[in-house]
Symmetry: C2
Amino acid sequence: MLIAVDAMGGDHAPKAPCLAAINALKKRKDLEIALFGDENLLAPFLAKAKASIRKRIHVFNTTEVITANDSSSLAIRRKKDSSLVRAFYMVKSGEAQGLVSAGSTGAIAAGAVLLLGRIEGIDRPAMGIVLPLGAKQTLLMDVGASVRCKPVHLFQFAQMGSIYMSVLKNIKQPTVRFLANGEEATKGDETIGCARQMILDAGNLNYAGFAEGTDIVSGAADVIICDGLMGNAILKFGEGIGELLKKELKKEFTYHLLTKIGTLFLYPTLRRILRQFNWEKFGGLPILGVNGVVVKAHGRSSDKAIMNGILQAACLIEKDTISQIKSEIETTKRLLELNRKKAEEQPPC
Amino acid sequence: MLIAVDAMGGDHAPKAPCLAAINALKKRKDLEIALFGDENLLAPFLAKAKASIRKRIHVFNTTEVITANDSSSLAIRRKKDSSLVRAFYMVKSGEAQGLVSAGSTGAIAAGAVLLLGRIEGIDRPAMGIVLPLGAKQTLLMDVGASVRCKPVHLFQFAQMGSIYMSVLKNIKQPTVRFLANGEEATKGDETIGCARQMILDAGNLNYAGFAEGTDIVSGAADVIICDGLMGNAILKFGEGIGELLKKELKKEFTYHLLTKIGTLFLYPTLRRILRQFNWEKFGGLPILGVNGVVVKAHGRSSDKAIMNGILQAACLIEKDTISQIKSEIETTKRLLELNRKKAEEQPPC
């Protein structure tokens, strides 16, 4: 199994991606990694790896970098020798089976669509995250690949999300909801209202009504669908709360002797709770709807976060997730086509 | 000071609003409360109040109730004898100085607009919440009054938010940001992009660029503006995390002897941290942009939450917030008018 890794993406590149590659190779013996970046910058970090690991890393020198300030699709078209674009071409050629990057979400999503192409029946990519908060795991999607969405896009995300959770988590008929400002059918805006109608008309999903924000942590659904702007803000708000919590606990627990003693007793408990809010451990965020395994490593992208992204990609490759999504979308294609026509006849909303 | 309270709104009505009224009157001696609801249902809860408190509560019998399933503006127009509509009329007449309800946000916002009227220069109402998370207080707005917004609405929310924080929290030139999926100017969608341009053109606010979700807790701005769908989901997600945290800590800390001992030492610390996530204590959520003090009591609306809503309304009345917003909007009206014209010339986004 060969995974292409963008070594220049993320706040702590190229150090974090290099260390992530080394550690991922330690965890999975069946893995090789193609590392794309400035080889001179990469060399010092790779020098630390054992020879047995080092020979499973293949470095490809690139001269350009896509930054968060670049316009996503322009950058993908113009920066042909960027680490991200070169990595995508390796997946496109079939040489690598998946791609991991901690770079700009917009650029990764644009690259996935422009270079790998969309799955037939899917109009836009969606990035999901499986949140381990609360009673059960919930897939929140989209969290940043498609900023604002039309009803048909939200409808397609619901289809993909349902397949993803049934394949990856072995859930039969996952419950699916749209995120709104209340559970009643009168809530939400026109876009969500139309998407809801499409899902009811299609009738192939286990649709459970609108969700509200509390439902993301309450285990009220297996899949919660929203547009990328909303999902991204929620994801990062949760990340912020996790960081705040960690900081507060740390501050308090090192301050007083009494709390220090308390901490000794409580340490395993506190660690278990904090782990729930440690977004680095969540693994990567899959970008669904394109012809290939693409994983965005999350957050400020420490090497641990990127390593988890690589392991997540390996898992998606192993389970042949993309083929499963393709074949499932194929079977619901008739419904999708029907609904696409309906959406086109409806006023833009 | 007389405040009109909707005794039939919220999950725990009429018990919670009745107890809230009693407790609010205990806290503020200068306050009287007009309670709107089914007098037979209210009587048993009010019977518990001391005579000195009871005589400061004026009960107005109503026969209808607006529920979350009602279409907001239809319900306001048709249910003339509902507790909410009757309470609004008392504010409209000038007899009461403010209104508090824990009912449906949509109905309260619709009632505020239809019965009290919008402030000149403001096209839509916005509901804000001052979050005490992190380093400093941040006003997040809108959190549910106006579901999807045009650029001009977001621009107006920014104006109101800035005035609100400067009046209520004595902050000179509060920093204002729009919530997007990243800080770079290329982020966000067309709506946010247009709103950003309007704020730059107006030039009267301390605009600090786009915010991302983490900034809500990081203290990166005094005011963060978004549409009501996004804001509502974020608010409730945070609420859900707070509840989850409380539950987890409770579960863990009553399970083992060792953690029980630890809890004894840590109790004050844990309580302090949990308080930050206790949304009931945040006071009510003001609905800005209308001719009157209107406060939505938050969350599942325990009597504590509603009491804090009443006290929040009293504080807004005391500081003459609405007049201040009006006069400030008046001075920036020229800019607003200029921008409104610009927005109308632009393609719908």
